[in-house]
């Protein structure tokens, strides 16, 4: 490869886009080529300057007058179109079925008690007795495809399993019980155990919990943000509830409720495309209140899988008064010093809780001798809002030969659910 080609690689390296082989070739070349080394240093200086100046604008919040002016200056035609569309929607929905009108009266709280029409309260009541649920989502949001949950008498979540066949981290299964979540990264052959005290709140970000969603409808309706229509029966044994959001999301939810049990059978999320709502996601309930085998809530992990337990040890370093950049550099320095000293237990704690033996095994083919440099941390937004990339150079000995090796892909971020503690994560 020519120098110009290596210099092309410098950019990909700085962005963490090189594979190991390319990174090793580049590192090898840089050791022997002063011109490319100078190029790399010049590039790094420029990137540092760009990152610094970028940060000076990072806090720039849009001037609130922009949206005020936009809302004010929206043309009268636009506003009129909008109002007409909403009005037509309301009218056509209301005229669609007399049952809808009756239900709306009940829903809006002016109906007589004992009305025969379906009301959301019945579904809320039906969910009070729910002990377990098994559901699937199509297509899977963020890869979540199937979930099982068990609830206690008071409605609290007792046990949960979620399967994600496709995520950025590859296939993963999650089980949760008693404030701890075990995440099995199947492709990475690793199980991570993390603290997750409030799983219910977390999962509702991933997929709609039918129980909470019912309550969400009340809130949206009370605040005037949703329009609710009921069709009873919409089909054999099915009540259809349509919740149209009157906000900028242009989405609506269609609930197919079992007429007898009043439990949700299916929840469709629809999005406005042109003038029609189209289903973009379906949550299908496969079973309610059927006993779930205990094995569902256990990960059937084969032997040889690394287990990283973050709940039984203090991971990473405490940030204290340090800036994000300073604590990131400190974590990397402490980790490298521990590896150099052969203290793999300490090094493992600074590396997401990696078991000492596993870490040592990964480093058998090289010995770390000395830290040569630790570079300026750079934001790594693809790994999380405050994640940082901290490139470093270490003198190593491999096969009896000493050399300086660059590690451009060292990433540092806050320990999951342990704010204030920072750890190295991912591959190095």
């Amino acid at each position: 490869m020519k120098c110009s080609e290596f210099q092309e690689l410098l950019v990909a390296q700085a962005e963490g886009l090189l594979d190991e082989r390319q990174a090793a070739d580049l590192s090898e070349h840089l050791r022997s080529c002063p011109a490319c080394r100078a190029e790399a240093e010049g590039l790094e200086r420029l990137r540092t300057r760009l990152v610094r100046d970028g940060r000076a604008f990072a806090d720039a919040r849009p001037d609130s007058r922009v949206m005020e002016r936009i809302l004010h200056e929206s043309t009268p035609n636009l506003r009129r179109t909008n109002m007409i569309r909403r009005k037509v929607t309301r009218w056509s929905l209301a005229a669609a079925a007399a049952a809808a009108l009756i239900a709306l009266v009940v829903l809006f709280g002016i109906g007589r008690p004992g009305s025969v029409a379906y009301a959301l309260e019945q579904t809320v009541e039906a969910y009070r007795g729910m002990r377990s649920i098994h559901l699937k989502v199509e297509p899977a949001p963020n890869g979540l495809e199937e979930a099982w949950a068990e609830f206690g008498d008071d409605g609290s979540l007792l046990r949960l399993r979620m399967d994600f066949p496709q995520t950025e981290d590859g296939s993963k299964d999650v089980v949760w019980e008693k404030g701890k979540a075990q995440v099995w990264f199947k492709d990475k052959k690793c199980v991570t155990v993390v603290r997750e005290p409030n799983m219910l709140a977390m999962i509702t970000k991933q997929f709609p919990d039918p129980k909470l969603a019912v309550e969400g409808i009340y809130e949206a309706k009370a605040s005037g943000n949703a329009f609710v229509e009921v069709e009873e029966p919409a089909a054999e044994g099915v009540i259809r509830l349509t919740v149209t959001k009157l906000d900028s999301t242009a989405t609506r939810e269609v609930w197919l409720v079992d007429a007898q049990t009043k439990l949700l059978r299916e929840l469709q999320t629809q999005k406005l495309e042109g003038t029609e709502y189209k289903t973009v996601q379906r949550l299908i309930v496969l079973d309610y209140n059927k006993p779930i085998e205990a094995s569902v809530f256990r990960l059937d992990v084969p032997a040889g899988i690394t287990v990283v337990d973050q709940t039984t040890q203090d991971i990473g370093l405490v940030q204290g008064e340090l800036s994000d950049n300073d604590v990131a550099v400190k974590v990397v320095r402490s980790f490298l010093e521990a590896v150099i000293a052969g203290d793999y237990a300490t090094a493992g704690r600074l590396y997401e809780g990696m078991p000492a033996a596993k870490l040592q095994e990964g480093l058998t083919d090289m010995k770390f001798l000395r830290i040569v440099s630790i570079g300026e941390p750079m934001p790594s937004p693809e790994h999380g809002r405050r994640a940082l990339q901290v490139p470093c150079e270490v003198e190593i000995e491999a096969g009896g030969v000493k050399s300086v090796r660059t590690f451009p892909h060292v990433f540092v971020r806050q320990v999951y659910n342990q704010p204030g503690r920072w750890t190295i994560f991912g591959g190095i």
């Binding site: 760009l50 100046d53 970028g54 720039a60 849009p62 809302l71 929206s74 569309r85 900028s248 693809e382």
Partner: protein, 181 residues
């Protein structure tokens, strides 16, 4: 789940002006830093950014490809810059302070760098602004500009070379005509 540029544009056109807000949030910092580079004054840049966003909203129906909102917004910001300079010259002929003085009291953080970025040809300027001022990863930049990831890194590489050359020249004496763009 955040909406794409295309969805925000379509919703805004469909009578939901509030759907424009995510676009303002997403591109405020890159546009502001670009305008700061062009105008040399942060307060002035904020005024111009406000103007550019409002005009882009009002002209949304002219945007042929909703997914290309960002490059199109840039074109509008450029026009705002030119108008602002023209207005400034006219005011100068009346009793406003000469605008060399305005440039000298530049309040931006690294004006040389911002100026050098503003002078880059558009495709290179876009990737630098989105990567460093929009705090996007290369993959996000590729997605936002609908170009392959390899093109993003190639453009970054070329942009770095141009910026370094431009910054190396920065201490050479400036032509007065260069200030009076």
């Amino acid at each position: 789940m955040s909406q794409t540029d295309e969805e925000c544009v379509k919703l805004s056109l469909d009578g939901h002006p509030e759907a424009f807000e995510p676009l303002v949030g997403r591109y405020w910092a890159p546009i502001l830093s670009y305008l700061a580079g062009r105008l040399g004054d942060r307060d002035w840049a904020e005024e111009a950014a406000q103007e550019a966003f409002v005009r882009s909203f009002l002209g949304l129906k002219e945007l042929r490809k909703p997914a290309s909102f960002f490059p199109w917004l840039f074109g509008i910001a450029d026009r705002v810059v030119k108008e602002q300079w023209r207005a400034r010259r006219r005011n100068e002929q009346r009793n406003d302070p000469p605008w060399e003085e305005v440039v000298q009291r530049a309040q931006t953080h690294d004006h040389d760098l911002e100026r050098a970025i503003a002078d880059l040809p558009e495709p290179y300027r876009q990737v630098i602004l989105l990567r460093y001022y929009g705090n996007m990863s290369c993959a996000q930049v590729a997605e936002g500009l609908a170009i392959p990831l390899g093109t993003v890194t190639k453009r970054l590489s070329r942009a770095y070379a141009m910026l370094r050359a431009s910054l190396a020249r920065v201490h050479e004496p400036q032509q007065s005509s260069e200030v009076q763009r």
